[in-house]
């Protein structure tokens, strides 16, 4: 087990290093020379630029520059935003909670829909309920979340006027109920964007599990459908955890897009604003946060998969 953990950790660190090299290359590829942008025009400009380059270490060989940058980056020093002069880390951290809130509740809701729907489809395989659930989930996969969001705003905010169209809170009232009302449309559209594949997944693992001999034994001993379901579900939970870990980065991707429509003040809005303002340090910082999230999720998925299921060999 320890060897397995060490190997996986080392592999993750290696991938992290590769991604960081990629991000560093992007820093380099960013249009414009950071130093000549800092230095005002006038007498002695060239000498001044050379001095500044030296002070910033930009005259060092590339590998040294990289490790310098890398050391600063992993200690949380990602530079400063071009536009607000705040440290990139504090900008990113302050936009993290709204996105996490959206993702967390969205994930919960998608599971609350997908697990019963998937189980139902598996139990009534090739019957009406299965056909309805399976084709709905197929259609859901083809629906772009942002189009669904626009339709949702049109119906519930503009026509029926029962939900707010954007933001996290109303400007004049602050209450939990108000915040909850603002959550409904973003969370539902986000959940719907991953619920299709999740339903299909739950259906498949349940079908696999329901075909096992031990469940026939449960039936034979007089166990109810509910009991059989419970047994099967408990065993399909293991792969489900892995899949959830895989879907978390996808969920972030979905949230980034939806935040634009719902004016949700999270990482997505931040990164798109940074792109429009050509605020490169913030974009690079966002890239590093994404890399860390992806690697952690991957690592946890591997661990969960290996830990919980004794059938998985660790070697």
């Amino acid at each position: 087990m320890l060897a397995f953990l060490t190997r996986r950790t080392l592999a993750s660190l290696f991938v992290f290093l590769v991604i960081m090299i990629g991000l560093f290359a992007l820093v380099y590829a960013a249009p414009g020379d950071p130093v000549s942008m800092m230095v005002p025009p006038g007498q002695g400009r060239l000498a001044f630029i050379a001095a500044k380059r030296h002070a910033l270490g930009l005259d060092q060989p590339l590998p040294i520059q990289f490790f310098d940058w890398f050391r600063r980056a992993i200690t949380g020093n990602l530079g400063y935003s071009f536009t607000t002069s705040q440290s990139v880390n504090s900008v990113l951290l302050s936009h993290l909670p709204p996105t996490l809130e959206l993702m967390g509740i969205g994930l919960l809701l998608s599971l609350v829909i997908a697990i019963p729907a998937g189980i139902l489809a598996a139990l009534y395989r090739n019957r009406l309920a299965d056909h309805i659930i399976s084709s709905t989930s197929l259609v859901a996969i083809g629906f772009p979340g942002f189009f669904l969001a626009m339709a949702g705003i049109y119906i519930f905010a503009l026509r029926l006027r029962i939900l707010p169209s954007s933001g996290m809170t109303s400007s004049d009232v602050t209450s939990t109920a108000d915040a909850a009302r603002h959550l409904v449309l973003p969370v539902v559209t986000l959940a719907l964007s991953i619920v299709g594949p999740l339903i299909r997944y739950v259906r498949r693992v349940m079908l696999e599990e329901l075909g096992q001999d031990y469940l026939r034994t449960v039936y034979a001993k007089g166990g109810s459908t509910l009991r059989v379901c419970w047994h099967a579900f408990r065993n399909s939970l293991i792969p489900l955890i892995t899949v959830i870990m895989v879907y978390i980065p996808q969920l972030l991707g979905g949230a980034v897009v939806l935040e634009q429509i719902f004016a949700w003040p999270g990482m997505g809005q931040l990164s798109i604003r940074a792109i429009n303002l050509e605020d490169y340090p913030v974009i690079i910082g966002f890239g590093m946060y994404v890399a860390i999230l992806v690697l952690i999720c991957n690592f946890l998925a591997d661990i969960a998969y290996a830990f919980v299921d004794a059938r998985v060999k660790l070697s």
Binding site: M150, S165, A274, V294
Partner: protein, 304 residues
Amino acid sequence: MLMDPGIATGPAGPVEDIGSSLSPAALARKRFLRNRAAVAGAIILVLLTAAAIFAPLLTPYTPAHIDLNAVLQPPSGQHWLGTDSTGRDEFSRLLYAGRISLTVGLLTGAAVYIIGTVIGVSAGWYGGWIDQVLMRIADIYLSIPPVLVVIVIAGILGPSLPLLIILIAGFSWPYVARIARGSVLSLREQEYVLAALIVGARGRRIIFRHLMPTVSPPAIVASAVMAAQAILLEAALSFIGVGVQPPTPSWGNMLADAQSITVLSSQPWLWVPPGLAIVLTVLSVTFVGDGISDASSTAQGLSR
């Protein structure tokens, strides 16, 4: 690590007795034509492609033609889908935007098929450390959502359509590679492959003559699924402004233009058609993929 594309596996229908005198290809065709959703999807795709190619013949307006005397007009005989806030004809924009989406789908599908089968077949056929390294790389690519990659890379290098296609394809091949690898692994144990090896057939001949006919159909299906995903991705990325840039119309940036509350509530002709166009295209590609998947698995089942 496990990742379930979840989409490629169609419902396994009952194997019908279609008669044994037909070749596997003919059987597959017959089976495909029985799948109504797949046929409908294929017809819609043909129509959409034709509409995109022959756009100049279908509409008298160019997508960039601004007419300030005809701003925000509702659909009429003259402007079938109305006009936007600068008087551009929405119908012609929709047709020309279709070129972008279909190009993205087609190029991504083709690229992903080639990269995916090459890597998947290599991994499956050679095995050992080659397999381990390739599949580990595939896992990593699989776990990074392309939306986020494009935001970071296109955000810095500046958005463009070629970059978009390269990045989407670059992050979609692992699905195909995994499926190709899976079929090769099972084929490796087949007697006819062993026989080919024994009579002296080597690498290229075995791969193209003996492996590809079986590896190809599921790989094509997976590529179709990825093509559908690519169309969705392009739309989403153009929607948030890091994809196709105006004035070039794409379904995604047309929706982005229609985001304001006033347009949403009083000019539905500006946002409903591009949204439905995306849904229609993506579902058609998905259904066709499903149809091919069912058809080819039946053909194999009968020929075995």
